[in-house]
Amino acid sequence: MSFIDAPMTPLDEVRKSPSRLRSLLSFLRKHPQAAIGFVILMLFVFIAIFGPYFAPYGEREQVGPIFGTPSSAHPLGLDDGGIDVLSLLIYGARVTLIVGFAGAVVAMLVGGSIGIISGYFGGKIDNALMRTTDYFLVLPDLVLMIVVASIWGRSLRNIIIIIGLIYWTFMARLIRAQVKVVRERAYVKRAQALGATHTRIIFRHVIPQIAPLLLAQTVLMVALAIFLETAISFLGLGDPSVASWGKMIETAFSRSAISYGAWWAIAPPGIAVALVIMAFNMVGTAAEDSLNPRLRVSHLARRHFRLRPLPDKEPPK
């Protein structure tokens, strides 16, 4: 056994491992849409964290006339209570993002673990869990939302639970399908042949393999959660004590901002919600590409095809 297929080059010549920051930067360079989304996100996260320090006015402070028009002192005008809309928007960012992230994480934890258990063990466990999932899947979101909010009361915590309750089903189904694929991989069989416990296989082989998907889906789910939070608040089921963007739209709407012609009370939170959702989507869809190392190997990488116009079918006259 003197020869092995080819002489090996020393490892440090083959692989110069790039730093985390470097790989993040190169990821953003390769996916310009993710870069745009990432910048928007960072901006909103910055506002959510430090907003209260530079918001021009307080979130409950009446600083001018009802539905005061935008001016240099109030760039986005005033709302129905004479509160500065820009300041409200800045305060609302924190609530909206917290609910979005927390709701998505709850959905990820519940849906992810049910999906993993269901997909890995299969059989009767799978059947029982999936029928439960189906049950939650067919419940109309809006009705569930209204019922839960009116029974448990209107608080931020309850909104987060509702969001988790509605979205874990999607997560569970998706993760289950992926786990079923991973479970059949030969290296999982090998671990089984070695006598590894289920816990070990799940934590060492299955979860690392589906982590990119889990992460990308969570990012996408944040967008959905923010949308749902806005919807819940708009229906008047939001936490009455905090100002989220959905709450801003709801108050402006119910205090007939439209008939006053006060577009500035309704448009800014709407645009902010749309921007954040778009940003999360842009980052989420690109994230999966890069987080999966197998996709980096050239022959397995997702290929981008460009559509070329078909030749004219009509014969030249």
């Binding site: 056994m1 020869f3 092995i4 297929d5 080819a6 090996m8 020393p10 490892l11 083959v14 692989r15 991989r185 030969a186 290296y187 069989k189 090998r190 671990a191 089984q192 042949a193 070695l194 006598g195 590894a196 416990t197 070990r200 060492r204 082989h205 690392p208 393999q209 190392p293 197998r294 190997v297």
Partner: protein
């Protein structure tokens, strides 16, 4: 013969196929592997070779028959009881591109069996020794790599190293070279041969009769869930008795043109293992079948050379 390491008697594995149909994946296989013996299980795709190996590893449900490992009947062992057995019995998979976790470095893959079986002393040395025993020298060059940075042959060596690290007594190799380039096959087979010489029992599953002929001590030929011929490798190859073995041997290329036989191509395809033919299961494709082959089911019985057995009514 010394006491066999592994003895399989009348192993039957049936899978339900829905609507009361049953897939007869393995339908009465018997074989033995002694320490230091290299046994090849040969047969075409779908004849139940892999299922046999999985049943021995207790990864497929055994319908009937017994599996005896070192004198202990492990057929009905629970997964917990199997753990110490799994320490000594290792399975090498066919596809080195699939059987290594892409997120594990070579070290993690080879150390995993030690972690599973709670071996805590000298892990690093054991890993290095196993890698070098599997022909990956020096170990430093490979130990920190990911599978996608290795060639197919190197991956299979990593896989073998992970099997050797627990110092097993029995290796089940499920087509260890069929996914590899021809140029690296000899290296891997030579490695298995060396391990055999150091006292391991090896059961290699293959569809390649010529590699079996070159490396194995004994050959078992399987057809449709049954062993149709079994015996010392040179007897089975030089003097095949069963018509199926004859057909298989006739298509192996010969280096000497004077000795080359006319390849005998079998008609038709392997029957569906859901509907096993009556009588001798080979009769629909057998070139010499007679009327009684359709009704009588032949059993393995001694034929030809010493220790050779075949299941055919016409011998």
């Amino acid at each position: 013969m010394t006491e066999p390491l592994l003895q399989v008697d009348d192993l039957v594995v049936h899978y339900p196929a829905g609507r009361k149909r049953v897939v007869h994946a393995v339908d009465g296989v018997s074989l033995t592997v002694a320490p230091g013996e290299f046994v090849a299980l040969v047969g075409e795709s779908g004849c139940g070779k892999t299922t046999t190996a999985q049943a021995i590893m207790r990864m497929a449900k055994v319908t009937a028959g017994t599996i005896t490992y070192r004198g202990r009947d492990i057929t009905t062992f629970s997964q917990r009881e199997m753990r110490p057995i799994r320490h000594e019995m290792q399975l090498i998979f066919q596809d080195p591109y699939e059987s290594l976790d892409p997120r594990f470095r070579v070290r993690d893959t080879v150390i995993e069996p030690l972690q599973i079986h709670g071996v805590t002393d000298n892990r690093e040395e054991r890993v290095r020794a196993a890698l070098e025993r599997a022909g990956l020298t020096p170990a430093e060059l490979y130990i920190d790599r990911y599978p996608h940075e290795l060639s197919g042959g190197q991956r299979q060596r990593v896989s073998i190293a992970a099997s050797l690290v627990l110092e097993p007594t029995l290796l089940l190799a499920d087509e260890p070279v069929s996914m590899l380039d021809v140029s690296v096959r000899a290296g891997i087979l030579g490695l298995l041969d060396e391990l055999r010489k150091s006292g391991l029992g090896i059961l290699m599953i293959t569809h390649d009769l010529s590699t079996a002929a070159h490396y194995a001590d004994r050959i078992c030929v399987m057809y449709l869930g049954r062993v149709v011929e079994e015996g010392p490798a040179h007897e089975v190859i030089r003097n095949p008795q069963h018509p199926y073995t004859k057909a298989l041997v006739s298509v192996v290329p010969q280096s000497d043109p004077d000795r080359a036989t006319k390849p005998q191509i079998l008609q038709g395809e392997t029957p569906n293992p859901i509907n096993i033919p009556s009588g001798c299961r080979f009769h629909p494709r057998c070139p010499v079948a007679e009327a009684r082959c359709q009704s009588e089911d032949p059993q393995l019985r001694p034929v030809g050379g010493a220790g050779q057995q075949a299941a055919c009514l016409l011998i």
